[in-house]
Symmetry: C2
Subunit: 236 residues, 2 copies
């Protein structure tokens, strides 16, 4: 998986194509199960096939698309089992981050946390789902900064690909942003005070609420998901 780079830093067409297509998949503008071809995408973006092809290969590595030689390319269905595992993985790794970050935030980082929370509130107030989504991600990356670990967020991103699309489905649910911000405030204040256990508990609660929203979201667009997953038999 490729690390997120500041927009405009990488001018290569292949990188641009990757960012564009990936955003369209994550935002569900390209719905799961729909088919694309290198030709249609390249003509739409105005690039040649080569950079588009490279972008699709990278997305295939991530599992976001399925390339079938001589057949075509399909936007992968969301795999509920993978999303469930992603939650398990996130819980463990974010608990690790919280443990290492608790009580070790310097003044600069605390300010960045507060700025981020302000940005979350602003995005929520403005109903800017995209901005809220990004601020949410940035909040969790700040925890990693506090923990002094740079690679863990990349691993979480890698693990949580299927999760991100589900999150995007749920971001329109009323009250979602308010709940999330409240949990983030809890986590931050626990980290600030050195309460590793409290922070870990907040994180677990946050992820559990995400899990509980899954089944509802599944009923909305069941054909976007890989069939055969039994939601009720899972505990989290």
């Amino acid at each position: 998986m490729r690390a997120a780079v500041p927009a405009g830093q990488d001018q290569r067409r292949a990188a641009q194509a990757y960012e564009i297509i990936r955003a369209e998949i994550i935002s569900l503008a390209m719905p799961p199960g729909s088919t694309i071809t290198e030709n249609t995408v390249s003509s739409r973006l105005g690039f040649s096939r080569t950079p588009v092809r490279e972008a699709l290969i990278r997305l295939s590595d991530e599992g976001l698309v399925e390339i079938k030689p001589q057949l075509g390319t399909k936007i992968s269905l969301i795999d509920p089992a993978s999303a469930f595992e992603a939650l398990l993985i996130r819980r463990e790794l974010e608990k690790l981050l919280a443990q290492r970050a608790a009580g070790k935030l310097d003044a600069n980082l605390k300010k960045r946390f507060r700025d981020n929370l302000a940005a979350q509130r602003a995005a929520a107030k403005a109903r800017d789902n995209d901005a809220f989504f990004q601020a949410d991600d940035a909040f969790h990356r700040l925890i990693a900064v506090g923990a002094g670990l740079k690679r863990v967020p990349l691993v979480i991103d890698f693990a949580a690909v299927d999760l991100s699309r589900i999150r995007n489905m749920g971001i329109h649910v009323p009250g979602h942003t308010k709940t999330t911000i409240g949990e983030h405030v809890e986590i931050f204040s626990a980290l600030e005070k050195g309460g590793a256990k409290e922070a870990q508990h907040s994180i677990s609660r946050h992820l559990r609420s995400v899990f509980c929203s899954f089944e509802q979201l599944w009923t909305r667009n069941p054909d976007w998901f890989v069939p055969g997953f039994d939601w009720t038999s899972q505990e989290f």
Copy 2:
């Protein structure tokens, strides 16, 4: 002018190139810091640049090579900080696996565990480091099977890329295989009996011994590593 695909090799050239180059990097046949070009690799493999290029892009996403436009491609140095993080990540995720697998191994899986342990002993006896390395990986994947989680091993692999090269350096250390097998036996018996705590403890000990071997391995080839990491200040 196009060479026909050799019969019997049903894999795509790009996939073949990826496997070959990756194995050479992991096995340290291509030492960290050395430079390659798309042309040299493609002529060596007998492929054109395109599939080789695709392979290098995938390796770049993994962090195993660094592609610098208009300059060349370099085998990445091993980042001690990333390797250290990989150990932290592995510890948490494998503890998760152990917790879910403990006491839930069916007869078939127990047999596969025993066969795997036998393979480890055979490889150790035959001094077949490559086979031992693979059996070691397979053992950990078996735990994931027991836990009913398929994606966690992929995440661990992604996280542990830097770790794998260090492991390859250490596999020649005398007594290494014996120690490792002993720890694996401990883990398996704990899982078999349902002792999640014991299995987690064994896993932690195993990873700690890996960590303790780091500094010694670093002194052998310090120029293979990203400089600036303070081994003594880390606790594990």
